[in-house]
Amino acid sequence: MSAGAESELLSLIVAGTRERLSAAACSVALLDGEQLVFRAAAGVGADRVVGLRLPVGRGLAGFVVASGQSIAVADVRRDQRFDVATAEGTGYVPTSILAVAVEDDEGPIGVLEVLDRQPGVQDMEVAAAAARQVSLVVQLARSGAEVDTVLADDRLQVLVGLVRRFGDARERDRLLAAVLLGAVLEHGS
């Protein structure tokens, strides 16, 4: 999967989640070291949010990433530690936030946030399902990148060349190569 396809899929997920929850905005931020980097957003302030970096030790998003627990807060401005300046920087200061951890098999890799949704009983489940989709897309993109790295390795190209030559070789040469390979493997073990 290309980086472009990954971004497009993440954008589709946050746009769908925003619509499903009748929310003002929805975003996905992924961990990069000790920072959260906003990778996709839909709704108000979306164009200013993507690319934004925040230290992970702060705020609700930081808590969700640290704990893996989902949380929704009805009025974030009652939290004296709520980072109003950052919110103002995006051009939109929300009242309510719902935040769900994006996790792979080892733990949180990011957070999906929904701002000012129309509250409903299944909100957490809807957001959790979206976070699961985000996780799968990110894992696919990462494994794709790993495959690309492996394919670009010069030694792999040498090996591919050898296999091709082996296929083109005459019967007698193939037998000889097989015997040699057997001897190498036996020696190696």
């Binding site: 961990l31 704990s67 893996g68 949380i71 009652r78 080892e106």
Partner: protein, 261 residues
């Protein structure tokens, strides 16, 4: 098994099991409750008093990869204070301990959580609130062993389940009181789930909770359901010292709102 068994002291049951039978005056006096979380703001009016605690952090140079700093500490997010406030509201005379395992450092968080549970068991906690969990499969055996150890030591581990449909530890294990949010308002009321691994449902939707800097928030999450059950469990342990986790679960099931007489 020893050749001569000592007598056991099962919980005294009467019919019907009432709240008075289960938790008496409901004070939770003498019960040690650990909140394994982001710390507790001891000055928050809804918390009242924090008896002790420890900060646990990753440390590559330490023997088990973590270091322990005992003593007073702040709440980094407000979440631990929220849990402590709920427990204090239900068990006003219990002794609260803050076991801070959530910090800015994200590496090794599963190991830190496991160390937090171990600290609680080794320091004689009666009830442990875990409004957090780990997905680390690498630590599955560690958590499994800790839960067994806790059950045999009569330590009640109360865990919030994760919303994500995937196993999280230790809330996944049957030795834990696994709790999810339920649309109730009365902090003393709860339901028992006939379809585990979630065993109990308690208020966790739009709950008015204590938060950092002496403030409060209206918040939703399984995080806030677990301390409701932890508070009630503290009440029960206060009334029946030495009671086992299985016996506490029996009492809770007998008092659940969705029971059929």
């Amino acid at each position: 098994m020893p050749g001569r068994l000592r007598a056991i002291r099962p919980v005294r049951l009467s019919v019907p099991i009432t709240r008075a039978v289960a938790w008496g005056d409901g004070s939770g006096a003498g019960v040690r409750v650990a909140v394994v979380d982001s710390g507790i703001d001891a000055s928050h009016p809804r918390v009242g008093r924090v008896t002790g605690g420890v900060v646990i952090e990753p440390d590559e140079t330490a023997a088990e990869g973590v270091r322990f700093v005992e003593g007073p500490h702040a709440d980094l997010y407000g979440h631990g204070t929220a849990c402590a406030g709920i427990i204090r509201g239900l068990a006003p005379a219990c002794d609260l301990y803050s076991v801070r395992v959530l910090g800015a450092a994200l590496t090794g968080r599963g190991s830190v959580l496991a160390a937090g549970i171990r600290w609680a068991i080794e320091h004689g906690m009666d009830v442990v609130n875990l409004s957090l969990s780990s997905r680390s499969r690498a630590l599955l055996e560690v958590f499994y062993g800790l839960v067994d150890e806790a059950v045999f030591a009569r330590v009640m581990l109360v865990g919030a389940v994760n919303n994500v449909p995937a196993p999280t530890y230790p809330s996944q294990f049957s030795g834990v009181f696994s709790v999810a949010a339920y649309a109730g308002r009365d902090p003393e009321r709860f339901v028992a789930n006939p379809e585990p691994p979630v065993e109990f449902g308690a208020p966790g939707i739009d709950v008015d909770v204590a938060w950092s800097d002496g403030g409060s928030l209206v918040a939703t999450g399984n995080s806030f359901a677990a301390p409701h059950i932890a508070g009630l469990v503290a009440r029960i342990v206060g009334e029946h010292p030495g009671i086992t986790p299985a016996e506490v679960k029996t009492l809770l099931r007998a008092l659940a709102d969705n029971r059929r007489e």
